[in-house]
Symmetry: C2
Subunit: 120 residues, 2 copies
Amino acid sequence: MDPVLVYSPYASDCPSRQLLDRIGDRWTVLIIGSLEEGPLRFSELRRRVEGISQKMLTQTLRSLETDGLVTRTVFAEIPPRVQYELSPLGRSLLEPLGALTRWATEHMDEVRAARGTLAS
Amino acid sequence: MDPVLVYSPYASDCPSRQLLDRIGDRWTVLIIGSLEEGPLRFSELRRRVEGISQKMLTQTLRSLETDGLVTRTVFAEIPPRVQYELSPLGRSLLEPLGALTRWATEHMDEVRAARGTLAS
């Protein structure tokens, strides 16, 4: 029988720490959130995630593919259509990442008040 | 009346995008998680969050204080005791960040399998 692996990101050499980095990354959060409603093309993703560079989008999509979170499908059309879609594993991230995004938007005013940058 | 501010991290100039960066940061996640059970001293935090440098811990704690997520209390003892504690705003992050950490540890094997790095 295989040994049971227990992961903890509090341990410096645990691979779950690096995974935590990856899923908490701003571009991952925004790309996965953009794909919630269904598959999108590269150009559509680029429009939704305002300000992301072509290079960063390419790179992040590649990581998401490698980690099994996003699938890439090429349709043999002219010109070829390339589409990105959440895998079931990627869909399981929608809830935690959605909660993170909601927290940021819902508590922005409180954070700004703490920073003293919100005019009262 | 004040205008209602609506935040969206999909907009490149929205402050919630930078906040998302901050709360999704690995050190933020691990420090806030460490403070769940109650206040801790600097040295205790450093032991829990394995591998964090003194500089990074100082810097992250300062950001968390600025954003109103952590409070810092100095007790007039000899030597002075300094303690870090979650504010109510910081406590409201426990759930989303806990969900993120749980996801990373629970799905680590699936991600490793996708990467082809898990011996079967």
